[in-house]
Symmetry: C2
Subunit: 81 residues, 2 copies
DNA sequence: TTGTGACTTACAGTCCGTC
DNA sequence: TGACGGACTGTAAGTCACA
């Protein structure tokens, strides 16, 4: 699983539960609607600057966009410790 | 601290202790020496594909390159548990 | 061993669409 | 609402010479 695929997976994981459409996310992040779609299909190779914008818009940290599926298992969750 | 600065910081943090020069890392990752230097000075805005190459070369995960200074505090370090 | 400027080529990202 | 395409522009990728 390469970086683009990981980002794609996280983008969907974070966007959908927030009830945001691709277009709404695009507008909020100052990006293009069709570009967001391509990111989620893992056909684009974003820069860290783009990831920064998306992380800020989704109110998450940069690392939350490059976290691999399954990594949640080892996540540090205070209330569980 | 933006994404480029975070990557720059992590690159130095991971490269130096391994006793690698910028040039050695560049060769191993299939990148140019001067480009590595610019990444470490945060004057470049790398794509995830570039980060992928570097992570593979350094034998770390993608998230280890976008981890913020201070986040090590919460890192999962088995020998400390 | 690294920083830096100059340069060309490849592609990130935009904007217009259709289905 | 999202998948997908074409044409375009800005900038990252990649190389080299020199301090």
């Amino acid at each position: 699983m390469d970086g683009a695929a990981i980002v794609a997976w996280n983008l969907r994981r974070l966007r959908v539960p927030r009830g945001l459409s691709q277009e709404a996310l695009a507008v909020d992040a100052g990006l293009d609607r069709s570009y967001i779609g391509r990111l989620e299909r893992a056909v684009e190779n974003p820069t860290v600057q783009t990831l920064d914008k998306l992380a800020a818009t989704l109110s998450v940290r940069l690392i939350d966009l490059v976290m691999e599926p399954g990594a949640m298992r080892n996540a540090f969750i205070p209330m569980l410790k």
